[in-house]
Subunit: 186 residues, 2 copies
């Protein structure tokens, strides 16, 4: 329990310091996080609702963050054809270029320079803590499409894969992106 408390303090402090480090290129930490998400999300997940679930915040806050990013010319919104309540978001070329200088890269480098065992231990611990936190507040995991229990490869038509939940064909690149609907296999 003593260890648990010190680890908790460690996690909080590290989180704060990393947060404060993420003020780069005129973007706020939240804006970077939104950009990162949108770059990795599949077409069913590039909308305000999914981003809200991912960030664990509220629709209102996300709406404002998206407005800020739109003003900066980093994304484009358009209403979905199928469900006209939904808004599809697309990152601009400018956003993708910006992501090449993502301040998070410094963190990845630091992570990579850790001893192999320590790196694996940290990864496992973080994964477990995140799963716990998500379960606690009813969040979604946002895993990659191909690791989902609804992922199918038996599509008779042209496409290589298929989503058994939404019943739509999936390209190979689709299957490697993260999805709001993803549910683990086991």
């Amino acid at each position: 329990m003593e260890t648990a408390e010190s680890s908790t303090i460690l996690l909080e402090r590290l989180a704060r310091i990393l947060q404060n480090e993420a003020h780069a290129a005129g973007l706020k930490p939240t804006q970077w996080e939104a950009l990162r998400y949108l770059a990795r999300a599949n077409r069913f997940s590039r909308n305000p609702s999914a981003l809200t679930a991912y960030l664990g915040t509220t629709k209102g806050t996300v709406s404002q963050t998206l407005n800020a990013l739109e003003r900066k010319g980093l994304l484009v919104k358009k209403t979905d054809h199928v469900d006209r309540r939904q808004v599809d978001i697309d990152l601009t070329r400018k956003a993708r270029q910006l992501l090449d200088e993502d301040p998070i890269h410094a963190l990845t480098v630091a992570m990579a320079s850790l001893p192999v065992g320590e790196q694996a231990g940290l990864g496992d611990g973080l994964r477990t803590m995140l799963e716990e936190a998500l379960r606690r507040r009813g969040g979604r995991p946002f895993g990659v499409c191909r690791s989902c229990r609804f992922f199918r490869t038996d599509d008779s038509r042209g496409a290589p894969h298929r989503c058994g939940l939404l019943d739509v064909p999936l390209s190979d690149s689709d299957s490697r992106q993260i999805c709001v609907e993803q549910q683990a296999l086991c």
Copy 2:
């Protein structure tokens, strides 16, 4: 490198979710963090400067956060007698009561329920990452007083310990608090 990147994303996401969880009792995450620090810091470290270094932010921001906490009746400021530029901060009884319901407790519980090995691995990894981050931006470690290279037990006068840097007597409880000036032994 693949592992490093996914661990990085994990850390960022967990950090954000925990951040958003820390809105309790009408306090903001930063205000909780400040309160926690002030409750653990020794008398040389309960001032705006030290808090600024701990949070890794700027003097101005800390000044505002302290004003907010003062308005809520959670702390009292008074100018230092020795150096009248400095401000000594004391938490009120109300603040200490509030800290009993610190939302971070939920996190500690989650941490404690981890398998022992995983918990230790996570702690080690976090420690290393924090040290790296601090070194990168010239931050201070804020360890406990008694683990400092300036900690002495050879005080001829009444007090049980002594600080070799500031040359002042230290009580036993002093020695268990965290300090801005702390430097590791080895």
